[in-house]
Structures are given as C-alpha cells and as structure tokens.
C-alpha cells in the first residue's frame, strides 16, 4: 500500500448563517495516496469544493482532523498554512484565476516568489514549465490575450511551479469546450503518469474515466464507505 499524502478524518465543516447552521461537510473521510489520480464526484452542493478546500489547506475544519504527510494541519496558523500550501499543493481552478495584470511568465513565477526562490531560478523553471504545457510562444502574454484553454494551461504550469506533492483541480474543464477540456484532462493524466498525485473535483461523471479512483460524495459525506 502506497504512502498517504492527505487524509481527512471525520471532518466537519459547519457554516453558521443567521439562525441556521449549514453543514457543508458532515463526517468526511478521505485518504489520498501518493501517485493516485482521484476524482471526487457528487451533485452540486454536495460539498465537493469544501472538501477541496480542506485537502488544499485553504480552510480548517470545524471538527475533525486533516493530515498532510502525517502532520495534523488543523491547528496551524494562517501563515504556516500558506507556506505549506505554496510548497506542497498546486491549485487549478474552474475560472483559471490568473492574475490579470501579470504576464503568463510572471503568473507562473508568482508561487515561487512567495517561496523566496531566487529570480534567475524562477525564470528558468517558469519558462521550462510554459514550454512543457505548450505555451513557449506565449510567455509575455497577459491572461486577457489568451484563450480559455491557454489560460488553463498557464494555470497548470503555475500549479507545478513549486514542484508540489499534489495537484488539486476544481472543475478544471468547467469553463472549457469539450475538445479543450479533453486536452486539459490529458495533460493532467500525463502529469499523473510522471508521478504527480492528482485530486480532481467535478460534477461531470464523464471525467471519471481519466481517474484511477473515484470518490462519490453526497451531503458532505464519502458514500464509498
């Protein structure tokens, strides 16, 4: 059995809105092993994004534990979380979320900037990554000058820049046409083949064919169990 990278153990996330409490997660258990390609699927509102936030250390649970490489991160400060996120996890979002004022190259360099990597090195890595995702000719372009598929490829290059353990993708093809979406999925699949752990969240059951393992969630719970 492969080593566990991220593990959610009876994780609860409860949002308090006025009088009512909305449980987004109610006892979520997930164990993600090194080298896996996991698809987390479920209907809208089932808690996929919230699960993703937990896995990505973007949020801390109301109750329960989140382990990243066996360290409990539920007690860490925001700054420590940021540091861990930056190093261990790469995000790919449905809406790309590139920084609009920065060029493709600068966008890819940004996560490394936050890790205080020297400029020369950042430049070299970022250029290589853009070549790798097939955008060697677009390094100086602003996001507004790129197509949706190109933006998502820049986002993937950015997610890879600190050479993280895990790539987290939240509906990565949600804003793309099916052909471009397929390209992106193939790219993720290729990364997995090269050894990256990938967790993808989607409501599109079609995409599960790219994954090695599928986790179905409903009402904030893993219903595979």
């Amino acid at each position: 059995m492969a080593e566990s990278v991220i593990r959610l153990e009876d994780v609860w996330k409860i949002y308090h809105m006025d009088e009512v409490s909305v449980p987004a997660l109610s006892g979520m258990n997930i164990d993600i092993k090194k080298g896996e390609f996991v698809a987390v699927v479920g209907p809208s509102g089932s808690g996929k994004s919230t699960t993703m936030n937990m896995i990505g250390c973007l949020d801390i649970p109301t109750k329960g534990k989140v382990f990243l490489e066996h360290h409990d991160i539920s007690k860490l400060s925001e700054s420590n979380l940021a540091q861990i996120r930056g190093k261990k996890i790469g995000f790919v979002f449905q809406t790309f979320n590139l920084i609009p004022t920065l060029t493709a190259l600068d966008n890819v360099m940004l996560p490394m900037t936050f890790q205080n990597i020297p400029r020369e090195e950042r430049l070299k890595i970022a250029k290589n990554l853009l070549v790798k995702v097939g955008l060697g000719h677009r390094v100086g372009h602003l996001p507004s000058q790129l197509s949706g598929g190109e933006k998502q490829r820049v986002a993937i290059a950015r997610a890879l820049s600190n050479n993280p353990e895990v790539i987290l993708a939240d509906e990565p093809t949600g804003n793309l046409d099916s052909k471009t979406g397929e390209e992106i999925m193939k790219m993720l699949k290729g990364l997995n083949k090269d050894g990256k752990t990938i967790v993808m969240v989607t409501h599109d059951t079609d995409l599960t064919k790219y994954a090695k393992k599928v986790i179905h969630i409903k009402d904030g719970k893993n219903i595979n169990d």
Partner: protein, 400 residues
C-alpha cells in the same frame, strides 16, 4: 521579492489608470506647494542673509519715527548734533548720515517721481555700506553741484520713453542737472530707480541743512553691536529729554533688523507649509480611499495569491508598496511642479526687476520630499492593506 511586488504594484496602478492619476493629484498638489514654499522661503532667506553680510553685522541704523515720504513736521528729524552724539557714544567708531526724499524728474517733456538719496560718496562708512559699483561713467564727488548719478533702471529701461545716457541734462526739482554716471543693478527694482546727488545738494534742494533721514553707525570690533545700539538710543534719548518707550526715533543694529525680517519670514513659511500640509493629509485620505477600493476589487485575486502560497505579510506588503508607489510618484510629480513653479516665480520676479529672489533646492529637500511622499502613501495604504491581509482565503476565493 520586493522588486517583484514593486513591478506588480506598478502594473496594477497602470490598470487603474485614471483612478491612480486622480488619486495622485491629491498628493502632488500638496507636495508641489511644500517644495515651492520651502524653496522660495529658503531663497528669500538666503538673499536676506546676503544683504546682511553685504552691510555687515557691525552696523547700526538710526532713523526718525514717522512714515517715510510723508511731510513730517511734528517729528524731530535727525541732526548734526545727533550725529555728533552717536559718533561720541562709547563703542561707536564711525557714523554718517544721508538724506532720502522724493525727487521730481523731468526729461523728454515727461515728469516722473523717484526716490532721491543725498549721499557722501567719499565717506568711508558709506563706501562700506553702499558697495555697489558704477556701470557707466563715474561716481559723484563730495559736494559736487548740478551732477546726478542714477540707478541702473534709468540706463536699461525707457523710463522717459527713451533711455537716458551720460551727459544728458535732466530737470531735478526744476533745476538742471547733468548725468555723470549709472550704478550697476543692485537686484531690486526699487533701488535700481534711485536718484543720487551729493549730500550737500540734497541739503539745499530740500532745505534740510544739517539734517539726516538716516544715520548709519559702525560699532567697534570689540563691542557687541546690539549693546552699542542700546547706548546710542540712551544718549539721544537723554539729549532730547525723552522717557524710555516714548522715543521719536529708532535705533536698530543690522542684526536686529535682519532677525526681525527672518522671524516674519519664518512665521509666514510655517503658516503656509501648514496649509500645504493639510492638503497632504487630504491627499493621504484619497490614497486610503483608493486602496480600500483596490482591496475590494481584488478580493478574489487576494484569495488566489493566498492559495498559491502568499502569507498575510506578503499581501500586506503588496498593498503597502502599491500605495507607497502612489505616494512616491505623486511626490516626484509634486517636486517637478514645485521646482518648476518656484523657478517661474524667480524668473517673473527677475523680469519685474527683483533678482534678489534666488530660489534654492537643497538636495535634502528633494530627497526628503520623495521619502516623505512614499511614507505618506504607505501609511495611508496600511489599514486597507491590513484588511486585505486578514481575508480568509476561502472567503476571498468565493468573492465575485
């Protein structure tokens, strides 16, 4: 890292274009006024100091009270007797007096009025105080009759629809005088339009035998000029039988005179810079407002940056640097405008005949202003930046 944040800040400010410029107006108006006021004030102070040094710290000026130029029959004028008293006062080594009055000049059928100075050019003390050179012709001799020397403006400008030249004859108080010389410019138009005759001629012209409008005295090098001035005051007071505080004359050391100038100038400067300072505060509030808007607009971006590893301190720094740049660029423009404005004042003043205003831009003023502008900008951005840094990544990411 700072370098990257600066680049990021600049590109964001460019993205907000017009809003950034409008925000900077607030800062650069304040900065421009501060720079202009300080440099003009400094320039004025420097030229006052120059004049002070030209006259010398050891000089004492005695004059009658009463408004200059007005017929002052009630006011006792200074006399030869006063001059003797002053000369004999302990600590005074030399004294001399001269007459100032209004001169009616007629030339080319045009009549104009100027200030006349009746002066003994051969007196050592006058030479020391009135150290200007003759540009054309020669100076007056002691007691020389029907000869006049004029200020530079008569030579350079067409005050009588044409320029005057040497050996021209003009009517001075209806008496014919010949021009024998012109002074070099002294740097202000008022004195460049003075009319000079010998003291004796002025005595006759104005029927002021043995009288003086001003008496200049020189303190000995081993006395303190202000103390000598007090002794002069006491001697004349005693002679005239007046009580202290009721003098009909004033005695001032050159230092007193210039210090009172400097004090007025300083008060004025502090007042004006205070007003300019208020506009800086307003500018700072403008920056704060703009940064609040920027934080709100870029909430999602902040979430994205946090998700890719930005710590709270990184976000704080990004926004503080951005508002610092706003302040700094505002400062640069402000310095340029301020320098330009005071240069303009200098040139306009010089064209109007007042070349005494020599503005100065000490480097500390320029550098200090720019640092100050950056600090004002950063401080104004601090609260919005802090707010940005405290955003929860999940909440920020969900923001649309």
């Amino acid at each position: 890292m700072i370098r990257d944040f600066i680049g990021y800040g600049i590109s964001n400010l460019r993205r907000s274009g017009l809003r950034s410029w409008l925000t900077m107006i607030g800062i650069f108006i304040g900065m421009a006024s501060v720079v202009a006021l300080i440099s003009l004030g400094q320039g004025l102070e420097n030229s006052i100091n120059e004049q002070f040094e030209a006259i010398g710290a050891d000089k004492i000026i005695v004059q009658s009270k009463g408004i200059f130029g007005a017929p002052t029959t009630e006011v006792e004028s200074l006399t030869e007797k006063d001059l003797k008293i002053i000369e004999n006062t302990n600590g005074i080594v030399d004294a001399t007096g001269y007459i100032i009055d209004t001169a009616k000049l007629e030339f080319n059928d045009i009549v104009r009025y100027f200030v006349l100075v009746g002066i003994d050019n051969e007196d050592e003390l006058i030479k020391e105080i009135y150290s200007y050179d003759i540009e054309e012709g020669r100076n007056l001799k002691k007691g020389e009759k029907f000869k006049v020397v004029l200020g530079n403006d008569f030579f350079k400008s067409e005050l009588f629809d044409k320029k005057l030249k040497l050996r021209d004859t003009i009517l001075l108080n209806d008496i014919e005088f010949t021009i024998v010389g012109f002074y070099e410019t002294v740097g202000n138009q008022i004195d460049d339009r003075n009319v000079y005759v010998s003291y004796e001629v002025a005595e006759d012209l104005y029927d002021k035998e043995g009288e003086y409008s001003f008496i200049f005295a020189k303190a000995a090098s081993d006395t303190i000029p202000e103390e000598a001035a007090e002794r002069v005051e006491k001697e004349i007071r005693d002679d005239r039988g007046l009580d202290e505080g009721n003098e009909d004359f004033t005695v001032q050391s050159a230092k007193d005179l210039f210090e009172s100038f400097a004090t007025i100038l300083n008060i004025l400067q502090i007042f004006l810079i205070g007003i300019a300072g208020i506009s800086l505060v307003v500018g700072g509030i403008g920056i704060m407002n703009t940064m609040y808007t920027a934080v709100l607009e870029r909430t999602k971006e902040i979430g994205v940056m946090k998700s890719i590893g930005a710590k709270n301190s990184d976000i704080l720094m990004i926004f503080v640097i951005e508002s610092g740049i706003l302040g700094f660029v505002g400062g640069v423009i402000g310095v340029i405008l301020g320098v330009g404005f005071s240069k303009m004042v200098e040139i306009i003043a010089a064209n109007a005949g007042y070349s005494i205003i020599k503005i100065s831009f000490p480097p500390f003023l320029i550098i200090g202003t720019l640092i100050f502008a950056f600090v004002v900008g950063s401080l104004s951005g601090l609260i919005p930046a802090y707010k940005a840094s405290k955003l929860q990544p999940v909440d920020a990411l969900r923001y649309e």
